[in-house]
Symmetry: C2
Subunit: 249 residues, 2 copies
């Protein structure tokens, strides 16, 4: 499956503490086609060996990351800014789930505007003044007994919703049957063959034959068999019948 380069929002990590988390966030971005990473004053300095190593396949995102001294400068060129927070901030902003947030994000990107999403520090999140830079809040539907997501997981969920919407949930492979669904005639001919062999093996009590045959047809119909399925099962029935005949012979 080829996915063209996506016009996507920037991910902005504000004072991330651990290089590993930056790397894992970059990896999560790459999983879903996000490419632009902005870092506000990473605690342990930059560049970071640990970030590169945790990013695995996403080293390009780490190399291309831009550094900013504060959140204000990191969002300076953006037209729509969203802030992720896990708790109520008493700020009168709209609150979106990651899924809902894709509507305004895609709307702005579609007219050539720049969009970014702020993620806060590992333990303490964004400060209220940083949230104040944003047009709206994104928060996650989480179970109240265990509401805290780690940084890379929050980035992952935003990327996931983004990619889902952008590609219509394009899966890397589909569930097409490998052989065409069998036409009805092939099925009925298989039923005739099977029932003939079962007659020969004295399978049916004579008074029960009609209902047992119909029930077994229903079982095979529920299989939604392909042509290949029928060839396979037909071969298996033949092998059983021949084996019996050989043993009897």
């Amino acid at each position: 499956m080829a996915v063209p380069d996506l016009v996507a929002p920037a991910i902005i990590l504000v004072e991330p503490q651990m290089g590993e988390n930056i790397g894992m966030a970059a990896r999560a971005m790459a999983n879903f086609g996000l490419t632009e990473l902005r870092l506000v004053a990473p605690r342990d300095g930059w560049p970071s060996e640990k970030a590169v190593s945790a990013a695995a396949g996403a080293a390009k995102i780490i190399e291309g990351a831009r550094l900013y001294p504060d959140a204000r400068s990191a969002v300076a060129d953006l037209h729509l800014v969203l802030a992720t927070t896990a708790r109520e901030r008493g700020q009168m902003k709209r609150v979106f789930s990651p899924e809902e947030a894709m509507d305004p994000i895609r709307e702005r990107l579609a007219v050539g505007q720049q969009v970014g999403i702020l993620f806060g520090r590992e333990r303490t999140g964004l400060e209220n003044d940083e949230v104040s830079l944003a047009d709206a809040i994104v928060t996650f539907p989480v179970h109240p007994a265990c509401p805290s997501l780690n940084l890379a997981q929050a980035v992952l969920l935003v990327g996931y919703e983004w990619f889902k919407r952008e590609t219509g949930s394009a899966l890397p492979f589909g569930g097409e049957p490998l052989s065409p669904r069998a036409p009805r005639e092939m099925l009925v001919s298989f039923f005739d063959y099977l029932e003939g062999e079962l007659d020969g093996a004295a399978f049916y009590p004579p008074d029960k034959r009609p209902i047992m045959a119909r029930n077994m047809r229903d079982m095979f119909l529920r299989m939604e068999m392909t042509e290949q399925d029928i060839r396979t099962i037909r071969g298996a029935v033949r092998a059983l019948a021949e084996g019996r005949r050989v043993r009897k012979g």
Copy 2:
């Protein structure tokens, strides 16, 4: 927000290698209200200190995890089994996205059946014979340039879709304005006050007053102001006007 105990699918990790990953998977389960963890032959033995430590708030899930010698025994009591895989297996199964998979999962749980989802080893995933135990496949919509999710992230996405569907994407807090939206009369009275003060400050070129006043009314209307907003802005205008009068006085 109170969320009742959910009737949820079991998460089955097949031969997970790192205790940290088991712990992070348990944490991801807890974030989304999943509680039942099954482990097939964890490589580094069980119990695992590293798993407990990585699970953070989800120690209960780790403590309650059940051990099985192989995938077959881990799914023995289940009625619907799904296998997560990142690549095509040449098996003629239905392939669901995590979102789509919630339909059959919820359908079965609703009639009291047991459901489980298999996740494979960190590097190599599930073996084909293990996938063969499942009714259908779940795969993730990921960017082809970086398609590999880590174990806990795959569990996270399944849990996220599960919780979203189960709770209607219940967010931990909403975006209700903290004060009621202002009635029109309060707005119009504010406009009158503002325009009066601007008249007093000789803000408007006389021939432009009508259009400038209407444009500024539109700006404030786009704010969708609450009663508190209007009180705040009105106070700010008054402070500016008084300050000017004091300086002039």
